[in-house]
């Protein structure tokens, strides 16, 4: 099980799990419930650079397309082929099997600007999204 308290969150509903210099990125359980039935995921190519809050991937449900923004800046070092093959993993396992890509974190101070789990839960409760 992923320890949600160790994750950091964005206002656009991505989560970031930091392992050394690498940050794994996915979307939250709240977001997958809102999107529902993910049928297509387009991931960034390994080696490309992404900027914090820049569009990095696209998730599509039956009804619409949703942009996924990079929580921090850096180079894409991994992308999750399993989720491209079976997009429903985003719904079934948003915090584990449903991750999208990993970033080589350029500036660790960017991590501090993200929300903690407690902040995020408060954020979605107040409906400020």
């Amino acid at each position: 099980m992923v320890d949600l308290e160790k994750l950091r969150f964005t206002k656009t509903h991505e989560w970031l799990r930091v392992e050394g210099d690498t940050g794994y990125v996915g979307i939250t359980d709240h977001a997958q419930k809102e999107i529902t039935d993910v049928v297509f995921v387009e991931l960034p190519k390994v080696g490309c650079e992404v900027a914090k809050a820049g569009e990095a991937a696209v998730v599509e449900s039956v009804k619409a397309a949703f942009s996924i923004y990079a929580p921090v800046s850096g180079k894409i070092v991994k992308s999750n082929g399993a989720v491209e093959k079976d997009p429903s993993l985003v719904n079934k396992s948003p915090y584990e099997e449903g991750w999208f890509f990993a970033i080589e974190i350029k500036d660790r101070s960017e991590i501090d600007s993200l929300m903690t789990q407690k902040d995020y839960l408060e954020f979605i409760k107040t409906g400020a999204h």
Binding site: T36, D37, V39, E42, E60, V62, K63, A64, A65
Partner: protein, 381 residues
Amino acid sequence: MISTEDRKTPLYEAHKSLNAKIVSFHGWLLPIQYTSIIEEHNATRTRAGLFDISHLGKLEISGKDPKAFLQRLFTNNIEKALPGKIVYSPLCNENGGILDDVFIYNAGDRYILITNAATFEKDLAWIKKNCSLTLPSPQGGEGKGEGVVIKDINDAFGGIAIQGPASQQILSKLCEADLSRLKHRHFIETKVDGFYALLSRSGYTGEDGFEIFIPADASIKIWNDILEAGKGYGLIPAGLGARDTLRLEAGCPLYGVDTDETKTPLESGLERAVDFNKDFIGKKAMLEKKQRGLKEILAAFKMIDKAIPRTGYAIEKDGRKIGIVTSGTYSPTLKENIGFGYVSPDNSKAGDTFDVIIHGEKKKAVVVEAPFYRRTRLVRG
């Protein structure tokens, strides 16, 4: 955005108690989904799905010779609507622009018109206007001309569609009529669950199924009783999300999305519902257009590259814009990405290829014959 002005259908409380996700759809609060669009879609294809269609507009045309009046209003030949039969027809303005597409039921002494939800008020105004203009009567009076009576019966009735291969078995448990004898696009006035019902074998999903219009205040009881009757057959409630993916697979254009006032039936692939051997509003303009040649045609296409087309995406050929996507989705049945779009006629034949611009990239697509999905019909033995 849900606003306080949105209207509730007679089934609203039933959707709430089923924990549906409610959205505002052309001024009506309706369920977009109960659990999952894909689940509801698949249930309708393989077993049965139950839909709230109360938002559809309902009008009754009666009085003196309503047939002649409807012949002038509608592009299709109303003679084809024999008593007990339904005819589908565009309703056009003088320019041939489509105001709505309507199902016309011939109930013997009167006609019942089932319109789209968003267009109901506009249709009603247009029909009344043309009634008093074309058939002036000394009595005058709004909506009455030479004895034609136009009655808004929208609020009196709720509507439920049961769609899918198990529909007949399920509905038969609540209906005395022999539904196996009711043919496609035919209807009866009967009782369902003990209440009056205008019951037709029809739908908007590409499956066998029925649509019933029932007294508004009995709608929730009938809805719940059908759900109960369908338990052993895998019937589940299905929302607008599944209704949209089902109709797209079945190749049915949606008014306001795939067709509107800026298009005539010629561009929208609805010419089969236009009878040029009779007079109707918009005929002259359409014949002129036919002679001049069309600039665009609604085409059904499948994506070759892996990407989902959506409403408004540009269509290009060799880097030049040739059209626009009107509807698109991932098809849960075919597991492919499909869409409708207007393209120039020389790019609209099955097998023609073009690019859809998706998230800034060219993605290849090929024109196919609609429908995308056709159910396998059982051979009657």
